[in-house]
């Protein structure tokens, strides 16, 4: 499947299945749009006729030969990957990543919180070390030969359970050698409890830290509120700045925010983050049902698309000034990204990745927590529902019909089961609004690569 799009005079052909991306002039771009595989050696008469008003025969035939040579080389109009692995059952696949909801309690009351202000509707609780320990044992047992294991401390607000975090890290590290595992710890925090000790600890032990901030003070404070209803910006930003300033630049961090209907002009929030000195950024559309006044709805799409375009401009502008920054959703590795098998299985929720609650309940991922029908098991009674886990393991974009027809599937990975479930009540039915945004972001990411290549070429001429 070939996806064509143009942005600011750059015409792009994405050959979905091979991963090839080409830049075309107008003639080749238009011609590609009237062709479909298999391509014959000579330009089909029908295609030539369709374009003859706009281009000379010579131009059309020449462009055709170039398109044809890409086709022959397996870089255009290639058919979908159909390896046997896609049909292989992943039954009993190793679990390699844990989301530990160490705290089902939070010291903020954010209005869009999917965790229902921290407790996931299950009551405020902190995970005790005994449960965390069982979770580590569980992942060691279920990870088979996989060496790299990730543990994310999440919540609620995980720093409300800092003691459990520390003891869990020590415990897991103590088992690395014996079991030939390499643990990577990450944490997602709202920043409120960051003090010198915790900052130093996070910078030492966590390979990635995600700091939640929505950008401009008024935007942030409108939705991210303390228990008494005041905004949290002033309390958290100095602490986050300090953490980032002290962090080893070889270790990851992200300042991550959410945008809602309140801030379709979210480039201003990105600028605010940049002004704070943060350069690894992520800002995401809120996922809420359309009845919620903060939700992003169909009517907002064109405005949000425009803003993603502005963000591309901002990125390029800043790069010219030597002020590079990363925007998580525009990061795409066209050359050495993940293998095809990873791409077609996507996030791994429910089989490679699970979330654990303070009660020891195991869920397919953090976003499923609280949906009782998806409980996979419990660490305290040792249960684990392999058939439910296998249901998740069987999901890939071959089993999601809408994804199969989507050009972006190799970049997207087939979307978010949790969003599908909460929006469409169906794990396999993509959440269409999320898809529209995802496709736009992938286009932006590819466009940025193209633009940089073209700029390099003009610079060197």
């Amino acid at each position: 499947m070939v996806h064509r799009f143009s942005k600011k005079d750059v015409n792009i052909l994405v050959d979905s299945a091979s991963g090839a991306v080409h830049l075309a002039d107008k003639a080749a771009y238009d011609l590609c749009g009237v062709l479909s595989p298999p391509l014959p050696k000579d330009c089909p008469e029908s295609a030539r006729k369709k374009l003859s008003e706009h281009y000379s025969d010579e131009e059309i035939l020449e462009a055709y030969q170039e398109l044809y040579s890409l086709y022959k080389a397996g870089e255009l109009f290639t058919s979908d990957y159909d390896g046997a692995e896609t049909k292989m059952s992943l039954s009993g696949a190793p679990v390699k990543a844990l989301c530990l909801n160490v705290s089902h309690d939070c010291n903020l009351r954010c209005e869009y919180c999917f965790a229902k202000t921290g407790d996931f509707g299950t009551g405020r609780r902190i995970m005790d070390f005994d449960t965390a320990k069982k979770a580590v044992d569980f992942v060691i047992k279920h990870s088979g030969k996989r060496r790299n294991i990730e543990i994310d401390f999440f919540g609620g607000e995980p720093l409300m359970a800092f003691d459990t975090v520390k003891r869990t890290v020590d415990y897991a590290k103590g088992l690395e050698e014996k079991h030939n595992k390499n643990f990577r710890f990450t944490i997602t925090t709202n920043g409120l409890l960051l003090n010198d000790e915790i900052t130093e600890y996070i910078n030492r032990e966590m390979s990635n830290v995600v700091l939640s901030l929505d950008g401009r003070k008024e935007i942030n404070d409108h939705v991210r509120k303390t228990i008494v209803g005041t905004g949290c910006y002033d309390a958290i930003v100095p602490k986050m700045k300090r953490l980032v300033r002290l962090r080893d630049n070889k270790k990851d961090y992200y300042v991550r925010g959410t945008f809602t209907k309140n801030n379709p002009d979210f480039c201003e929030d990105i600028k605010e983050m940049l002004d704070c000195g943060f350069t690894n950024l992520s800002l995401e559309p809120v996922v809420l049902k359309k009845e919620n006044p903060l939700s992003i709805t169909k009517e907002d799409l064109s405005r949000v698309f425009e803003e993603y375009d502005r963000l591309c401009d901002l990125i390029l502008e800043r790069e010219k000034e030597g002020q590079n920054f990363e925007f998580f959703h525009f990061m795409i590795d066209l050359e050495q990204g993940p293998c095809i098998l990873k791409r077609l299985r996507g996030c791994g929720a429910g089989f490679e990745y699970v979330a654990v609650t303070p009660e020891g309940d195991i869920y397919p991922c953090h976003q499923f927590v609280g949906m009782d029908e998806f409980i996979l098991g419990n660490l305290n009674d040792g249960t684990f529902d392999v058939s439910l886990s296998d249901r998740f393991a069987a999901i890939n974009f071959y089993t999601r019909k809408d994804c199969l027809n989507c050009w972006a599937k190799y970049y997207c990975g087939g979307g978010c089961s949790a969003a599908n479930q909460s929006m469409n009540n169906d794990l396999l039915q993509p959440y269409e609004l999320g898809c529209e945004l995802e496709r736009k972001r992938v286009e932006c990411a590819i466009y940025l690569k193209a633009r940089r290549m073209l700029d390099l070429q003009t610079d060197s001429n």
């Binding site: 299945a17 992200y254 959703h329 795409i332 990204g337 098998l341 996507g346 978010c416």
Partner: protein, 47 residues
């Protein structure tokens, strides 16, 4: 070529041969917790 420039070649098909080791990061874990892009993940398989 005059009409076309290749930004990146056919990298995906080749990845099927060496791929599938499963050592890479889980996508949702890394920076967002609410999303799906996989193409921004790093491959851990250096062979």
């Amino acid at each position: 070529m005059k009409h076309l420039k290749t930004l990146s070649g056919a990298t995906l098909k080749a990845s099927a041969e060496k791929g599938g080791c499963g050592e890479c990061q889980t996508s949702c874990q890394s920076a967002c917790k609410t999303s799906c892009t996989v193409a921004n993940q790093k491959c851990e398989n250096k062979k």
